[in-house]
Symmetry: C2
Subunit: 180 residues, 2 copies
DNA sequence: CTCTAGATATATCATGCTGATGTATCTGCT
DNA sequence: AGCAGATACATCAGCATGATATATCTAGAG
């Protein structure tokens, strides 16, 4: 069976150096999480599958009784990663936003409630942007330019969104809304 | 057990009038799909659960041998929908974007491949925006303002994104990129 | 009038993900 | 020495995904 995107998260991270399953989860949470989240329940089984397919190799790095397994890319794995990355096929984008869903069904809300909700959305986007900002220096420091660019996109997106919802809240409040 | 967001998609749609499970799927694909997708595998079991909880009621609308079950909100269902919608608790936003993932691991690509990829991303966002644009008149015509505002947000977001990736592609191409 | 493609309608299933939890060890601080 | 928190791996119930199966109805072509 062909590997899903999560497999490539793993390959991509291992391309930066050997890591344990635990490492991979930590690194993914710091980097890819905002556009592709993973969980242990995916990572550990996937590591087994990738090993079986010969894309990665495990290496025992236990210290005393403390178990530790490092994985690293094989040549075949590197090749597979490159082939995937270089394929410009258009992939779909999935978004799940419960707050936007609430907004969509805002007929069930009063105007006041709607404004409060829009303010909450603005705040959320600002908070996420602020969180990303904190990690930006780290992204700027490492040598992979696109890591930084992707982070900049995330920050810009959340700031732009905060703005958009802020403006809509203002419009609604100042009564320029349609009747009813 | 407390209902998940998909349950509220159903309640929200039924708040607009009685519909069958099939209707709900069609309507969701036209409206909420861009920020909360659903599938039959969720809708039919959820309709059963919601009926059992007394939030919706089924009504047989079969014609001859042609089976058809319409569902409509109960007072309790309307109440539950409102309580959910009016709760301004900050919910997290999930994004899954395989193309952004590829971009993030673009070290595995040449500069030329990266530019091609960025162009593909720009095109994708433009296409999605164009698709939404087609449905905009419909959203503008119906009486629920937020339906239209959410659609406008979707359009604006995809156009803004298309722009952002277009600019980055240009920057990269014209050689203002970091060395390597 | 007949035929057929496509829309309507409901349902199911294998596969795999989510989010939480369990177990154990190690490290750094007080 | 003791303890909190980080490291490490693993598992599981519940739920979602995406495809597929079945059957009926409708509108338009010929």
């Amino acid at each position: 069976m062909k590997p899903g995107p999560t497999a490539y998260v793993i390959l991509g991270i291992l391309n930066l150096g050997p890591h344990s399953g635990y490492d991979i989860k930590q690194l993914a949470d710091l980097s890819t999480r905002h556009f592709w989240a993973t969980s242990y329940g995916q990572i550990y089984p996937e590591l087994k599958r990738l090993t079986e397919s010969g894309l990665i190799k495990s290496e025992d790095a236990s210290k005393g009784t403390r178990q530790r397994t490092l994985y690293h890319l094989t040549a075949k794995g590197k090749q597979t990663l490159h082939t995937w990355a270089a394929d410009p096929a258009i992939q779909s984008l999935e978004i799940r936003d419960e707050m936007l869903l609430k907004l969509f069904f805002a007929d069930a809300m009063s105007k006041k409630e709607t404004v409060t909700h829009l303010e909450a959305m603005r705040r959320r986007h600002q908070q996420v942007a602020a969180g990303l900002r904190e990690h930006e220096p780290m992204a700027a420091a490492q040598p992979h330019r696109m890591h930084h660019e992707v982070m900049k996109f995330g920050i810009a997106f959340h700031e732009w969104s905060a703005d958009w919802f802020g403006k809509l809240a203002k419009d609604l409040e100042s009564g320029r809304e349609a009747k009813k």
